[in-house]
């Protein structure tokens, strides 16, 4: 808390914020402050579950324009108050938590849709728009952002930009950073800037990429122009069962090396195939590893790509064909994993050890993490699937799960156990060539690993932060900055 609510300083700041935004858009009600104190990070969820107090913001601000964001930033600098941008609050890394109180800048009122530029195939909007709303708007005009993550229903476009989000069609259409044309940003000191209008240029370093992935520590992204795509004539999936995870991984990697350009690939290890795939899809799968992939675009091109892909799967790696039905089941149920009760849930303790690596390293990363979890936490389950595939490697979506009876009753002990798993597993991943992480971001959860990950390069990030945010008010405590 920046000042006791009974103090006159609190009222002075409150008055200035109301002058900037209007009384309706500066909330100090208990429910609003509570609503921004828990996101999708396991520790605050567990903390709340056990009846503990969660750190709350002093003010929840709802700006509607870039100029209003800038006004709030200047007030915050004047009084040196922390400012934490908040989109949908659905981040799993604690990146939007107001751990030092201050101002939550809830961006959802900045939801203006400016429409599709059909000539350039781009769309512009304010960044507080919920991604599903943006996608629906684009669909109505005949286009898609092709950014279709499970969190599309709750996360804002700003949230995806802030932590480099990824959707299920990333293999063909890229991550959010591949989709961005340009940004408007309010700097920590309240200046409004725009990055260059196109992403490919030779006019110096890429300022757009300085802010994408900065998780609100270097400024607040207020507007964006993104690429859009026509809806494909056909999108078809096909699934296979391989005798083991290694064979399936080899087949998937070969599909990527073939440059056939699938829109998505997913590979589930033996354990996750037997549990999750079976449960969610209702498929009778007792053994082996389930791999699904798809292509989209013009119908005859998709058919051709699929034919070549089937040859790889069937002739070279002896995959058992589950047909297009087996693949379509995955596409139709792709978000079902994330709905309760399928999704893991407090009082269980669970985490996604999101790591990305080259094909040369990814299996080593998987086995190293699995070993460290199994050896140090025999009471935990370790499962994994490989979610986002690129020409050079893929993302490991490994998870650990402790059942209720294995989670300490005391919230401090539970948090300590949880952090120990991360400490060991993430270091194992980094030591084996993995990078934390592919799309969940760093936030509060992984900030302490940033020095280990970046090594001698970390001071570069720290100096950029210091220069842009001299009062250290932008999302303090996050990303190790």
């Amino acid at each position: 808390m920046i000042a006791e609510r009974s103090s006159y300083m609190y009222e002075m700041i409150h008055t200035e914020l109301i002058d900037a935004l209007g009384a309706e858009f500066v909330n100090v009600r208990d429910v609003d402050r509570f609503g921004h104190s828990v996101d999708y990070y396991w520790i605050p969820e567990m903390w709340h579950d056990k009846g503990m107090e969660t750190p709350k913001p002093d003010f929840v601000c709802h700006p509607s324009t870039t100029e209003e964001v800038a006004k709030v930033m200047k007030i915050a600098n004047q009084y040196k108050i922390p400012v934490v941008p908040w989109g949908g609050g659905s981040g799993s890394q604690g990146g939007a938590l107001p751990v030092y109180g201050g101002i939550i800048m809830d961006m959802k009122r900045m939801n203006k849709y400016y429409g599709v530029d059909k000539e350039s195939m781009t769309v512009s909007c304010q960044t507080g728009i919920i991604a599903q709303h943006l996608e629906w708007n684009c669909n109505k005009e005949g286009f898609s952002t092709m950014h279709l993550p499970a969190s599309i229903s709750c996360a804002t476009i700003g949230g995806f930009l802030a932590h480099r989000g990824t959707g299920v069609l990333s293999t063909k259409y890229g991550k959010i950073e591949d989709m961005v044309m340009s940004l408007e940003v309010v700097t920590p000191t309240g200046e409004i800037i725009r990055t260059l209008p196109v992403p490919r240029h030779a006019s110096g370093p890429d300022l757009t990429m300085l802010f994408v992935g900065s998780e609100g520590t270097l400024g607040i992204i207020t507007e964006v122009t993104l690429k859009v795509h026509p809806q494909p004539e056909k999108r078809e999936f096909r699934a296979y069962i391989f005798k083991d995870f290694h064979t399936a991984m080899s087949a998937g990697a070969e599909l990527m090396r073939s440059r056939l350009q699938p829109c998505a690939i997913r590979l589930y290890d033996e354990t996750e195939t037997k549990t999750h795939v079976r449960k969610v899809f209702g498929m009778d799968l007792d053994q082996g590893a389930y791999l699904v992939f798809g292509f989209d675009g013009y119908s005859d091109i998709v058919d051709c790509q699929m034919r070549y892909a089937r040859e790889i799967m069937e002739k070279k790696y002896n995959g058992q064909d589950l047909g297009s039905k087996g693949g379509d089941l995955w596409w139709e149920n792709k978000y079902k994993f994330f709905y309760p009760p399928y999704v893991f849930h407090v009082p269980q303790a669970y985490g996604t050890l999101d790591t990305v690596a080259t094909f040369a390293n990814i299996e080593n990363v998987y086995h190293a993490m699995k070993k460290v979890v199994n050896e140090n936490f025999p009471q935990a389950r370790f499962i994994g699937h490989f979610s986002h595939w690129y020409e050079w490697g893929c993302m490991l979506y490994a998870r650990f799960i402790f059942e209720k009876e294995d989670v300490p009753e005391d919230p401090r002990e539970a948090a300590a156990l949880y952090n120990r798993v991360w400490d060991l597993a993430i270091k194992a991943a980094i030591d084996n060539g993995g990078v934390i992480n592919e799309h969940h971001g760093v936030g509060l959860k992984l900030g302490r690993f940033m020095k280990y990950l970046y090594g001698p390069a970390m001071p570069v990030l720290e100096k950029i932060k210091k220069e842009l945010d001299p009062n250290h008010i932008m999302n303090p405590g996050k990303m190790g900055l």
Binding site: D30, F34, S153
Partner: protein, 337 residues
């Protein structure tokens, strides 16, 4: 406590974000508090610290939910956060902690004037104030054959959603007694809130409803008029989200030559001005105005589109706050007879 019956919603909704985009009130206030996730979280917190159950901010938040049911309909497991909110309200009333403004609305609804009966026949039409004000009742009169009308009274749905279940039951019993006195075999309503009251709430309250209950669009299924042409249709929350995608309104429009266009950008959100909350216009009219403006902003051609509604309530609110050309299904048919 009534909330204990909704332990699944408390357990699962409080950490789930998957219906955030469908939070009707949340999408116009932009606050996290106005979402199923935070409402369920706060109720959970109150189960740990009962003294917080009657927190003033919490009560206000729970009384301004739009209760559209869009979250429940689109949830993979249909967890019932709507039921949880209604249960919380009932608990607040039972604890004597309902705000004075809510008590005043409840008193008004409890002391509403009596129903009057007119006409003759084996069909009775329920002409509530929204059906009359929207023009649906008058249009129904032109389209239907012989029927009795009851009008002027209250059905108890408003009291029920406010959490005054005992009072709701008394009012509903009076309503059903009047319906019984008509000896009609078929009960027809234009207002989906009354349809839901008769079909779902009355049985829940232990009240047996005499006769078959129909929405007016089902009763008018055989009506034929001149082709209706291009029409945008706004779903009713009670018909779509509370009653299994009740299909009669759209079927009737299509059968009469309507070229139906999807309104807005999707078929998941509620575009009803908080029909499910029944009396939100009395509790927080400014929110209903925001919801109306939210809908208006999503019209393709706000000045010229013909927008059909199955809910007289929705028409009344949209006419009050916007310039949209909104008509009930009954009116559209009657105009083209």
């Amino acid at each position: 406590m009534n909330i204990e019956k909704f332990s699944d919603a408390i357990k699962y909704c409080r950490f789930c974000f998957m219906c955030r985009h469908l939070s009707g009130i949340g999408n116009v206030t932009f606050t996290e508090a106005d979402t199923p996730r935070v409402r369920a979280s706060m109720v959970y917190g109150a189960t740990l610290r009962p003294e917080t159950l009657t927190n003033e901010d919490l009560i206000r938040t729970m009384y301004r939910s739009d209760l559209s049911g869009a979250c429940r309909r689109n949830c993979v497991h249909h967890f019932d956060e709507v039921g949880l909110t209604l249960a919380y309200r009932a608990d607040i009333v039972n604890l004597g902690a309902a705000p004075e403004a809510i008590k005043a609305i409840a008193a008004e609804l409890e002391n509403w004037k009596d129903w009057t009966v007119s006409g003759s026949g084996k069909v009775v039409y329920v002409a509530d104030q929204y059906s009359i004000d929207s023009g649906a009742a008058a249009a129904f009169g032109k389209l239907a054959g012989e029927f009795q009308t009851i009008q002027g009274g209250s059905c108890g749905k408003g009291l029920y959603v406010l959490g005054f279940h005992e009072s709701a039951k008394k009012v509903a019993e009076k309503f059903v007694n009047v319906l019984s006195s008509t000896e009609a075999e078929t009960i027809v309503v234009s207002n989906p809130a009354i349809y839901d009251m008769l079909v779902n709430t009355c049985p829940e309250l232990g009240i047996t409803v005499p006769g078959k209950v129909m929405h007016s669009t089902e009763f008018l299924a055989e009506v034929k008029c001149k082709p209706l042409g291009d029409i945008y249709y706004l779903e009713s929350d009670f018909l779509r989200n509370y009653n299994d995608d009740y299909a009669a309104p759209k079927a009737l429009l299509k059968a009469n030559g309507a070229n139906l266009h999807a309104f807005g950008t999707n078929d998941e959100e509620s575009y009803s001005c908080a029909e499910g909350a029944v009396v939100l216009d009395k509790i927080e009219p400014a929110l209903v105005e925001k919801l109306a403006n939210y809908i208006a902003a999503r019209a393709d051609h706000p000045e010229s589109d013909i927008i059909a509604v199955a809910s007289p309530y929705t028409k009344v609110q949209l006419k009050k706050y916007t310039t949209l050309n909104v008509k009930t299904v009954e009116e559209l048919l009657a105009e083209q007879l």
